[in-house]
């Protein structure tokens, strides 16, 4: 009980404190980071940040006590406290509104500096002419390599297709085990459910490009590594999405089938599967479409296919050939996109 009621307050305070520290450091950065060396002193800078955070936490507490709502309060207060209190003010006249505005503006300014944005570089005459020369080559594709490009593109599409196809049955089985309404809320079922969810979430958060690097070291550079990378990613993302469909099914048919004396497997097959088939197919096609796009990028890091070809020509500076590859990729992605949208609309 104590803990529950403390949560929002803690989150509010921490959020406000960090925002305060961030703003102060950003504004004072010319002083704090006066030298390149100062920028790299992690423990010194962290101390400044947390020191300022403590000041911020105090301010947040004081302001909240005075009945003024901070940005942290707006974001983290429990629902029942979010009710408007007193006469509504326009957002820019409130503390939280000003907090949000100032934070956004400061972030934009700092961001432009950090990304070394430069109008001068953008408008440099010499650079514009060399860039337009390269663009000219890019848009004058070297069609002579088209046969090779097509072979590699086909390889990439297959890579994505096989990865999806292998992932589907695995994800199908996992999806029921990752659904709360199947596994129950007690005992070993719940434990297994939780463990599986954690594994799926972790593996899903690892980008396929990272998997590709791992598998390229394991099975060697080439489309097989790329396929494995896409498959792992597809299994976890399909299973997650599928299990959400399973959790959303109507309980009525389940009860109806269970009441006939059906086994668990029969109940899943008769009461749940018909309810999730269409959303499964729809999401799977979307996944395949996504995989084709990802397969291209995965080629850059050793996944084979069209991506590998692209990076090879790019490193040689063969821009006309690169142009040809980019056009083929664009065409295939566009076709896949249209096809997947059409099929998903048709089976709705």
């Amino acid at each position: 009980m104590q803990k529950k009621s403390m949560g929002p307050v803690v989150r509010r305070t921490v959020f406000d404190a960090f925002v305060f520290a961030y703003l102060v450091m950003a504004v004072l950065s010319p002083i704090i980071f006066s030298t390149e060396e100062a920028l790299h002193q992690l423990s010194r800078n962290a101390s400044i940040f947390f020191g300022l955070s403590i000041v911020g936490a105090f301010i947040s507490g004081l302001v909240s006590r005075a009945g003024v709502r901070t940005l942290g309060e707006i974001l983290f207060a429990p629902a029942h406290k979010r009710l408007p209190q007193g006469e509504p003010k326009p957002w820019y006249a409130t503390l939280w509104g000003q907090q949000a505005l100032v934070t956004t503006l400061v972030t934009l300014i700092v961001g432009l500096i950090v990304t070394e944005a430069s109008i001068v570089a953008l408008l440099d005459k010499e650079r514009i002419t060399s860039a337009s020369r390269l663009l000219g080559e890019l848009f004058n594709p070297g069609w002579h390599i088209l046969p090779t490009v097509i072979v590699h593109m086909v390889q990439t599409v297959y890579m994505a297709f096989v990865a999806t196809l292998i992932a589907v049955p695995i994800a199908f089985v996992l999806s029921f085990m990752a659904a709360k309404n199947i596994m129950g809320t007690t005992g070993p079922g719940m434990a297994f459910y939780t463990a599986l969810r954690v594994v799926l979430n972790v593996s899903r958060s690892i980008e396929p490009i990272v998997w590709a690097i791992i598998f390229a070291l394991w099975v060697g550079f080439g489309p097989f590594a790329g396929m494995l990378a896409l498959m792992i990613q597809s299994v976890s993302s399909l299973a997650k999405q599928y299990s959400e469909y399973v959790e959303g099914v109507d309980e009525g048919p389940i009860e109806g089938i269970r009441s006939t004396g059906a086994t668990t497997l029969q109940t899943v097959w008769f009461a749940i599967v018909p309810q999730v088939t269409l959303p499964y197919i729809s999401y799977t096609i979307y996944r395949w479409d996504t995989n084709v796009r990802m397969a291209t990028i995965i080629g850059f890091v050793g996944g084979g296919g069209i991506g590998k070809l692209l990076i090879e020509y790019q490193l040689q500076g063969a821009w006309r050939e690169v142009g040809c590859i980019l056009l083929v990729i664009a065409a295939v992605v566009w076709i896949m996109d249209a096809f997947s949208a059409y099929v998903r609309e048709a089976i709705k």
């Binding site: 009525g252 269970r258 009441s259 004396g261 497997l265 097959w269 009461a271």
Partner: protein
């Protein structure tokens, strides 16, 4: 002891198909939905359970076929104690007890006949059922029960294409395909209009009288109860407050069951 007394004891035992003793159900959240309910059900009865919303009617029915786990007391089904059976035994019990629901609980995307055939799941092996390889006997049975409830010609429609009343008749046919001894009906007409409601109740009476199927049915409207029930039990806050002839429920009893100041509404 004379033979005739023994016989009548044996008689009354075979007569009773279901015996509920001090049944308790407390949900995990602490809600005591049933507080020691006891009653007997005789073979061939049309027993109706009435009571306010929340009085525990649905809970009671779901305990009988172990869709919900009772937390105390005893249930005897055809003389066998089924309170603590487990696994396959529960599945077998459920197959002997058909059930229909307020919202029909069919599989909307399957055909009508497919829905009815799912009543034979418990006697079909898992592999055969997943492949849809129903036995010819079951197919014929399913079709004949569809005919019995008057929608034989709708066999190859999707269940979702049927009206509410027709869907409830499909549900009855599905339950009949189980070849059950008892049929549980949880407010089978609560989401139907008055006219359709009588059609469905008439079919329930038909299977009760023609097939001799014992029926235990939750209902909301007393007028329907008087028309169809052979006996009635009233639940109030998880306890039985009335048991007997539906026609003996007078105003005094009505107020006791539904609370002071309650007024009966009629449905025709």
């Amino acid at each position: 002891m004379s033979a005739s007394v023994k016989d009548s004891v044996k008689d009354s035992m075979t007569d009773t198909i279901l015996s509920v003793r001090h049944l308790e159900k407390t949900y995990p959240n602490g809600m005591r939905a049933l507080k020691g309910v006891s009653f007997d059900v005789k073979k061939g009865e049309f027993l109706v359970i009435i009571g306010l919303s929340g009085s525990g009617k649905s809970t009671l029915l779901r305990c009988l076929n172990r869709l919900h786990e009772p937390t105390g007391g005893q249930i005897l089904f055809k003389g066998q104690d089924v309170t603590n059976i487990e696994g396959d035994e529960i599945l077998k019990l459920r197959s002997r007890i058909g059930m229909i629901f307020q919202h029909f609980n069919l599989i909307p995307r399957h055909t009508v006949i497919g829905n009815v055939l799912s009543g034979s799941l418990s006697r079909t092996s898992t592999v055969r059922s997943l492949l849809g390889l129903w036995s010819r006997e079951d197919r014929e049975k399913a079709q004949s029960y569809l005919n019995l409830v008057g929608i034989g010609e709708k066999a190859y429609y999707r269940a979702s294409q049927l009206s509410g009343g027709q869907q409830q008749r499909v549900a009855i046919a599905r339950a009949l395909t189980q070849a059950p001894d008892v049929l549980l009906a949880d407010e089978p007409v609560a989401s139907l209009d008055p006219a359709t409601c009588h059609t469905v109740m008439d079919y329930l009476r038909k299977v009760n009288q023609e097939l001799g199927l014992t029926i235990i049915c939750n209902l909301h409207f007393l007028s329907l109860v008087r028309q169809y029930a052979t006996r009635v039990i009233a639940l109030k806050a998880g306890e039985i407050v009335y048991e007997g002839d539906p026609n003996s429920i007078d105003d005094a009893w009505f107020q006791r069951i539904y609370g002071e100041g309650a007024k009966e509404v009629h449905i025709n």
